[in-house]
Symmetry: C2
Subunit: 104 residues, 2 copies
Amino acid sequence: MIENAIFKALGDPTRRAIFEKLAGGAMNASALREGMAISQPAMSQHLSVLREARLVREERQGRFVNYEVDPEGLAHIARWLRKYRDYWPARVAALKDVLEDMDE
Amino acid sequence: MIENAIFKALGDPTRRAIFEKLAGGAMNASALREGMAISQPAMSQHLSVLREARLVREERQGRFVNYEVDPEGLAHIARWLRKYRDYWPARVAALKDVLEDMDE
DNA sequence: CCAATACATAAGCATGAACTTATGTGAATG
DNA sequence: CATTCACATAAGTTCATGCTTATGTATTGG
């Protein structure tokens, strides 16, 4: 049940901050730490949680590990959200039709 | 930071099941328990968490309390998701334009 | 009113999650 | 090829979370 991993991962404000930072552009773990008052192991653990939720993916580049947003996690949230489109407020109702076209 | 409450609330599978059940139609806490192997206090506590996340809202009706999906929580998720639309997979890309029309 | 019903709250306990310090691993650099 | 650098993993601690049993509160029917 990937939704569990996804929502749990996003339930932590530090991890959401990390994710948001990565959404601004891929970077390695050290760069992510800059200005974030977080220890190196803590960052590594957070990235591990985000990776298992498929919100983030890694790519080793020499002795750096580059992290970037993984669309898979976001797609899962979109699919979960779609299930409850009947309850979306009117302002967002226009989304309905488009969401219905989403295959898979 | 309501996102914290929302994602934490959805990080529990029992609460997602409760939410899904309510999405099928409003009902009271006793009706929600049916077929769910969950104690009455546990249900009450879960509903409290969902309510504080604005995923669910209540309305007292006599000695029953009717629960229903609160669109506010879902709207928050949609707004959060919109921030990362650049990373959505191509299949969902059509959503972009519509989401951009979402005011607020 | 008084008992029963529907639900909320309190308190305690067991597990999990997020941090810490310490150490391991894999790659480049001198 | 040994040291340094970037990161991961291990182990321990503290606090949060989800459950339990027990009790409180609001509403209604007899």
